[in-house]
Subunit: 349 residues, 2 copies
């Protein structure tokens, strides 16, 4: 396949699979002409599906997998009994080298569990993390962890900082990302012991980015740093609160333009600008959470996204593969890992 | 003073003290004609200050306190050496029964520490908490803790649920508040042990509100429940992320209306509706965090607020005093406390 990048797609994952996966792939192959897709799922559904998307057939290959991971399936169960599923088979394709990365809009817990088993952690890493990027006042910011690890020690937070820095460099194209640890205040004495110890290590560690210290919740939308590092509980709460608040404000704006005749006229004039505003915070532009720290690119799409959103997630996988993000993460983790005598040793001891 | 409510005001606390305190008191006495204020601070500054606010003199009494808690003062230090400060003296007035509540826009950590020492916890309570209320899609929601306790066990979370329920009933006027525990998912298996144990207790406890289970970050702005209970770390991150995201969206909206001639025309037509929108999410309407669980009403105003915002915080104190919020909290805590054989026992053991 020459210089092409092959991404395995869990064709049966997500609310509207396989339709949005196929439509998303067809958008993604136009955005990334060197991308090729291994569609993993029910062949009987996928074959006619591909035919309905003009031009897609030249860019895809179908691999049959009869099973499907249900949305409410327990991760512990599907890792044992779900080996015939599209999710497992898509991950296996990455493990076997048949694809360079995988994208799934299916059950997050199952994807985490299966990916850990199949792709395994990069050497020296204690805990993988889920990272994503979101819109801010100054552009875009990477945040992790988003829920893979609810409680974290200092070593985990340092690892997240390293992985988040590579992710920001790879996906956002920031050459020297600034990194902040999410806390309840910016003073050195704030927070729990794990945060203070992680800050101490990060101040002394060359981890590829510029550690600026503690940041607070409002620093996330302000874009005060390029990478926000948090334990999975705080990161998850912050991301969902930000998403929910954006929805709230959008609802208030819609209502404001409806609640008088004058406002409706105003809307007609301002429509183009308001559409641009909506595009700027469109969740589909920020769809694609990456499981960082595994031997293979694995991207989780929102289950309820549409084809445009799914194509964004595919783009994250393509960029990570083409720019060697995972190789850089492995190198950086090896450098700081206890086995290498790196600084994470102190936190782990 | 008959049926009046006397509130002690830390006249020297906050970025623009005593000016905004005096101006705020003058707004508050119009909103709450039965309120009277004990202005605690530098008499030489306060006397001419009061005279400048027409009509205020009839509603205030000045108590001289020469000292002032600095913004960067360490709580542990000021509780020892700051007994001559306006903050300490204002709290002492509540302790001595000279005022029914106190409002301060000063140093949060110092206020917490001083209030704990002077007003003490209500009997049976393990940890006081900071609670506030914020705008949501369905009205307003109470959230606590906002940073008084970074790590919480099940008993603490149950106590917060009880206090938050009373706060919502008192401040928002919701007769039977719904209560949710902030988590990373709504399934019973989600979160850490403290959260799962607190949920188990709350399902079995008559704590005055209706416990609905776990909620997520986006449920806060959605207004899915009347009371969101979280440990101080998650609550602080969620509140600041919500505030920051609202600021981000407002900045985007301003930009949208500036970026074309048509949009500027649209703005002229829609201005009145947009002003209403702004008023709806005006942080000054949500100023006033309450230290819940003490023997006395103690409200913290944002340090950077203006007179209108300060008057809102005063209103929170007045409402809590008039509606007997603290008495209800003490009763409910006594009912569930271990000493009373209540359900919090299980969590504490």
């Amino acid at each position: 396949m020459g210089d092409t990048v092959k991404i395995a797609l869990d064709a049966m994952g997500g609310d509207n699979a396989p339709h949005i996966v196929l439509a998303g792939a067809n958008i993604a192959r136009r955005r990334h002409p060197d991308a090729r897709f291994l569609l993993v799922g029910d062949e009987a559904e996928l074959k006619p599906g591909v035919a309905r998307h003009r031009g897609l057939a030249d860019f895809v290959e179908i691999r049959h997998a009869p099973g499907r991971v249900e949305d409410d399936a327990k991760p512990s169960q599907v890792v044992r009994s779900g080996r015939d599923t599209s999710m497992w088979q898509a991950l296996e394709a990455v493990k076997d080298g048949d694809a360079a990365g995988v994208v799934s809009a299916g059950n997050t817990g199952a994807l985490m569990a299966m990916a850990m088993l199949q792709l395994r952690r990069v050497p020296g890493l204690d805990r993988p993390a889920i990272g994503t990027f979101l819109p801010t006042l100054r552009g875009e910011t990477v945040m992790l962890d988003l829920g893979a690890n609810l409680a974290c020690d200092a070593r985990n937070l340092v690892e997240f900082a390293v992985m988040g820095t590579v992710f920001a460099r790879t996906i956002l194209g920031v050459p020297n990302p600034t990194v902040g640890l999410l806390n309840v205040g910016s003073e050195e004495t704030k927070g729990n012991e794990a945060l203070r110890e992680a800050a101490r290590i990060l101040r002394e560690t060359d981890m590829g980015g510029e550690f600026v210290g503690f940041v607070e919740g409002d620093d996330i939308p302000a874009g005060s740093v390029d990478v926000v590092v948090a334990d999975g509980f705080a990161g998850n709460v912050a991301l969902k609160t930000a998403e929910g608040t954006a929805k709230l404000l959008n609802a208030f704006i819609r209502e404001a333009f409806r609640n008088s005749f004058m406002a409706r006229i105003g809307y007609v004039f301002a429509k183009r600008s308001l559409d641009k505003l909506r595009a700027r915070t469109d969740p589909r532009r920020y769809n694609g959470a990456m499981l960082l720290g595994l031997n293979g690119v694995c991207v989780k799409s929102h289950g309820g996204t549409d084809a445009i959103g799914f194509a964004t997630a595919v783009g994250v996988a393509v960029d990570m593969v083409k720019r060697g993000g995972n190789r850089m993460i492995a190198e950086q983790i090896a450098r700081i890992s206890p086995a290498a005598g790196g600084t994470a040793q102190e936190a782990a001891s």
